[in-house]
């Protein structure tokens, strides 16, 4: 999927000076991966890797890095809120939001919070470097496929449901398996057979899924899964 960049590449100085980057992610493994990546890039300096939003806001207030790569799922203050605060505390700092899960809803919230872009963590390394450079220069970045969905969300004026998004993250791996199967149209019996568990167990999981998502029906849960990119309509599970 291609990335598109928008807006003026206004800050030419970013091409010649060393860009200072802050990474905010509680998955140390991922931060280390970014450190390795940027370590090989001349012109990019990883200032710090922090595991939580609050620290990041404080750091930005003090040091005004050029770009912050902000994970959405953080313990405590979530990435969207942290983005909002950093943009307020340090307007010269650009924030690019990263996420393990693709989600149109979160993109809208991220942009509204002042992010320069939104990237899934499944992007290639080269893309991440390009994004950092261009975001530092003032451009907005987004994956091509995401743009129509984002515009659609804005057009229909739906309130971005960050709560729902975060609720989806509380699902266990097993629950996600089952929700995806439901979204693909499998009946409880089929799901049970595929996973090798009893259909009563499936029903128990379904009940937990509905409870965690705060919905009352399977169709609502499945709709959430589609809207938040957990399952696609066409993709077979």
């Amino acid at each position: 999927m291609r990335l598109s960049f928008f807006g003026p590449n206004a800050d030419v100085s970013t091409m010649t000076r060393v860009l200072r980057v802050l990474v905010v992610d509680d998955h140390e493994m991922f931060s280390e991966a970014l450190a390795l990546l940027f370590g090989r890039q001349p012109g990019i300096e990883l200032v710090a890797a922090l595991p939580a939003g609050e620290e990041a806001v404080a750091r930005c207030r003090d040091e005004a890095p050029d770009v912050v790569l902000m994970d959405v799922d953080l313990p405590g203050m979530d990435g969207i809120e942290a983005t909002r605060r950093i943009r307020a505390a340090s307007p010269g700092t650009r924030v690019v939001v990263l996420s393990a899960m693709e989600s149109p809803t979160l993109i809208v919230s991220a942009m509204a919070a002042g992010a320069s872009g939104y990237l899934p963590k499944t992007r290639a390394a080269d893309d991440l470097v390009a994004v950092v450079r261009r975001a530092a220069a003032g451009e907005i970045v987004m994956a091509d496929d995401d743009l129509p969905v984002v515009l659609d969300e804005l057009r229909t004026g739906r309130e971005p449901n960050v709560a729902a998004e975060l609720a989806l993250r509380r699902l266990t791996a097993r629950e996600i398996e089952i929700l995806r199967a439901m979204a693909a149209g499998d009946a409880a019996g089929e799901i049970a057979e595929t996973l090798g568990i009893s259909s009563l167990t499936v029903q128990s999981h379904v009940k937990n899924i509905l409870a965690k998502l705060g919905v009352h029906s399977k169709i609502e849960a499945v709709t959430m899964a589609w809207r938040h990119g957990l399952a696609t309509v066409s993709r077979p599970v």
Partner: protein, 224 residues
């Protein structure tokens, strides 16, 4: 959380030597007392009825056999004396026996071949209501969980009558023989069997019996 009260233990094992060994090991601990020893389910229940203290655990060996076997005893204690902890204990028990014991109501399982220190520490923790599994390797958790879920399936989807039919069928009898045993018509038996296959999601009698065996509804060792 381990209690400050001394733990009272009733040791139930059909083999006198094993009973004594367990009792000695437990009594030796400053925070535990052996309240009684029993060789049968009946003796165990009698001993339990005489208890007048709290913080008591009953250690039930899986070696009791017959109509009032270990599983029967575990279930009876759970039903009649809900305030007591019951810990199953066995030597080289299989996951199926362990899941059966847990499903019957045991708060945990202690393998007699486990390290004595671990055995006693697990006994203490199990007595406070925490689930314990001392001895069985972590690799068995999957099989034990399967056994529990299958048992749940069998118990919650089949009627008492259907379970009865299934138990008898597991002995390898024909529909006619089952009918004779239960005092009903052969057609009734086949109807029941049909419903059983449906509910359990199986297609053959062999599969149904297999499931029943895996669920611990019938004893292992029955010809399939």
């Amino acid at each position: 959380m381990v209690s400050k009260l001394r733990l009272g233990v009733i040791v139930v094992d059909p083999l006198p030597v094993v009973r004594s060994a367990l009792a000695l090991m437990i009594d030796d601990r400053p925070d535990m007392d052996v309240l009684a020893e029993a060789g049968t389910a009946g003796e165990a229940l009698e001993a339990i009825r005489r208890i007048r203290r709290s913080h008591v655990a009953v250690l039930v060996s899986l070696g009791l056999e017959g109509e009032h076997d270990s599983y029967w005893l575990i279930r009876t204690i759970r039903d009649q004396f809900p305030g007591l902890s019951v810990l199953a204990c066995g030597a080289n028990a299989e996951p199926l026996a362990i899941s059966r014991a847990l499903f019957s109501g045991a708060d945990g399982f202690l393998d007699k071949s486990s390290d004595p220190v671990e055995f006693l520490q697990s006994l203490r923790r199990g007595a406070t209501g925490e689930m314990v599994l001392a001895g069985p390797p972590t690799e068995w958790v999957g099989a034990i969980a399967e056994g529990i879920e299958r048992r749940r399936l069998v118990e919650t989807t089949l009627t008492d009558r259907e379970r009865e039919v299934l138990k008898v069928a597991a002995e390898g009898l024909t529909a006619r023989q089952i009918a004779t045993r239960l005092g009903v018509r052969e057609r009734t038996v086949t109807t029941h069997l049909g419903r059983i296959y449906n509910k359990l999601g199986v297609g053959t009698r062999v599969a149904a019996i297999r499931l029943a065996t895996d669920a611990g509804l019938v004893s292992v060792g029955v010809p399939e």
